[in-house]
Symmetry: C2
Subunit: 207 residues, 2 copies
């Protein structure tokens, strides 16, 4: 059966954000303890074997907190590692092709930058959308931010849930939810913090 999706606070990993000496596993566990509701393992261009080992370890960790683990881009890594789903960018495998391989119960998220991409992903069987970049972000440099109001056009275009992503801070949380978004995806504001638990809690307090 498909995992239930709770998109309120979606942590996306990026090891280069971590403070010196902090391991990815420790950082993600602190964020899980403090209340993130979904985790995506993202490692652009990582070797499949290394990603498989990390995805297995993160899946096991997340499952101890009853939180699903998705893998960015690499559907094969996600399936091999026993992860709960995959997140696909517009340049990755098409959602419909991924759905054919992965079956109906596998979680599939798609990055959508506008209402057209959002509607197509929904038609292709996506379970949720990641929409942005809402604000300027360290992890996707050179991307023109859309601002919060753009999310209303996504909400108008689809029925599936979606999150805003890109430079989102706790003080933006309520305004983003007010557009109809189901939550936020966060990288740097949590993983780059000196105190990962405290940074996570600042978001959780906004729920």
């Amino acid at each position: 059966m498909k995992q239930e999706l709770d998109l309120r606070l979606y942590l996306v990993t990026e090891e280069s954000c971590l403070q010196h000496g902090v391991t990815l596993m420790d950082a993600v566990e602190k964020a899980l303890q403090a209340g993130v509701t979904l985790v995506q393992y993202r490692e652009k261009g990582g070797a499949g074997g290394m990603m498989f080992e990390k995805a297995k370890a993160l899946t096991e960790l997340c499952h101890r907190y009853h939180v699903p683990l998705l893998v960015d881009d690499r559907l094969d890594v996600a399936l091999a590692a026993g992860a709960d789903g995959v997140h696909l960018g517009q340049d990755d495998l098409p959602c419909a092709a991924a759905r054919r391989i992965a079956g109906p119960d596998f979680l599939i998220g798609v990055s959508a930058h506008n209402a057209e991409e959002a509607a197509r992903a929904e038609a292709d069987g996506a379970d949720y959308l990641g929409c942005g970049a809402v604000f300027p972000t360290q992890t996707k440099k050179g991307v023109k931010p859309t601002g919060i109001n753009h999310l209303r056009s996504i909400r108008a275009a689809v029925r599936i849930p979606f999150v805003g992503i890109g430079g989102i801070q706790p003080e933006h949380y309520k305004a983003i939810r007010a557009t109809g978004a189901d939550g936020v995806a966060v990288v740097t504001a949590i993983l780059g913090a000196d105190d990962i638990a405290a940074a996570t809690e600042k978001f959780v307090k906004q729920f």
Copy 2:
């Protein structure tokens, strides 16, 4: 049912080898017409969506010549594109994990650099091995070549078929087969040639 493997002349793609103005599809078709027996689509670090489209097109092309098409590294792309198999390096998804996802009839090849890696790949369910680099090669710079005799240690270690790869020219063909290897994998000596058909035929004459 699993495709029959004919490893006598295994073409591995590398677009950067192609002469100016030659498309990958045209190059591969010329090589198919001239007698390559297996094709691997390799594009290190390519985006999944682009690789999916190319793998679909190459699969269709190869099937017109009754030749299987394998995809390097990306099992998800291979499955989504309807390719016949995947080729895994030592840094890619583990063979046993790939086999669990892909099922018994999917072709899985593994790169093995020594007898130990070869035996492990066989135990993990590989259908064939790619062994090298036999000679210095443009496509894997900085790799120490093993020479032809090294292939005898692979033959002694496994029962599954294998090919030599790395800088192989037609004049090496018979010596490589004499080690017990089932064929050769070729990149530059075919795809980098001015006349791809003629370059392929030089190998085919050695069968």
